[in-house]
Symmetry: C2
Subunit: 210 residues, 2 copies
């Protein structure tokens, strides 16, 4: 049983969405200062690194991340590899080979190279999903979609794609690192922190080879 | 396939270790204020709620939480129920029915009632594991141990139990809520945030019925 860690490492070098607070970890107890133990505190936007968006992120009356279904966040998933693409459109997805009855899909793009290279700057020209592609996935019955940079939607058109997916109850995972994963079928375990009523939560996500 | 969420909900009402920073979530973007979306930031001790301790928590040269084995954090686990007990000793464990070759064990105690009742105050008289019990588990070949309050060790004797386990490479999970889980065998998925070099990390943990 091979386990693939598809989460990005959280450190001070991680890029964050422009305007969002930076990631900070600092020790409040230090053994070298005579404390009994090392203890850290963290502060971060809940949309930092590998994370899950809840409906409340874009819908004023939407559900919080603690109410998302663990049955959707875990289970069979298809990883689709789309190299050399910036705008993932409905047409492009129609012409890709997504297996029938796919309920969970993670899209690997050139974005994953940004994580592999540990690029510290936020990159605005990332590959993302258009709103018509979001509509197509909803129509196909997809219930969970993941992408390998910090938004499922193009940088300057955030709301349409998010709104289409979140209104349809589709779980969105962003900030995945799929660099070491090949196209194909896996088992997904994506476990976001259980933040009461939150618009999102950082998560650890793994794939298991099947 | 039944999934049990054994993680506690993170909100401003959660008790934290005395002296540790409180849990905070606040929105930095608000739809009702005309922002495009809701976005929250969080701040917390990494030992808040359901979390994993890394060796670096008590060992100055110990590994960080991002280096813990996902193969240990996921897999077969035994939930042992020990009601009416405060000090879990080696003798008590010897007389309990832990199955042979158990590598992962979660101990359910009366502590779980504190989570079920949503007790907001930190409770110092929680059930915990003595250092001789820790030594016994290491000798048995246990590689992961979980408990249902905020420390694996008694309140006033933190270091010996932690040190015994962490030096032996045993992963410690604390702050589990096992209230709805019966004694028996399950599959565990405990996924801590991938915090570079950290002494610990908040985690989401689930059990799957087998």
């Amino acid at each position: 049983m091979k386990i693939y860690d598809i989460s990005v490492t959280l450190s001070q070098d991680i890029p964050v969405w422009p305007g969002d607070p930076a990631f900070v970890r600092e020790r409040v107890n230090k053994i070298e200062n005579g404390d009994d133990n090392n203890t850290s505190r963290i502060e971060m936007s809940v949309h930092t690194g590998t994370h899950v968006d809840a409906p409340y992120h874009f819908l004023a009356e939407g559900k919080g991340v603690d109410q998302l279904s663990l049955k959707l966040l875990t289970g069979r998933v298809y990883v689709l590899y789309l190299p050399g693409v910036k705008l993932i459109t409905a047409n492009l997805l129609q012409n890709s080979e997504i297996p029938p009855r796919t309920r969970r899909i993670l899209i690997k793009t050139d974005n994953s190279e940004l994580w592999a290279k540990k690029t510290p700057e936020f990159y605005t020209d990332f590959a993302a999903i258009t709103s018509d592609a979001a509509e197509y996935l909803v129509q196909r019955g997809v219930k969970l979609i993941g992408i390998d940079y910090l938004s499922i939607a193009p940088y300057h058109q955030g709301r349409p794609t998010h709104e289409t997916l979140l209104k349809a109850g589709v779980i969105i995972i962003e900030g995945l690192n799929l660099y070491d994963v090949e196209q194909g079928r896996y088992m997904l375990f994506c476990l976001p922190l259980k933040l009461q009523g939150s618009d999102g939560a950082p998560a650890r996500a793994v794939l298991i080879g099947v």
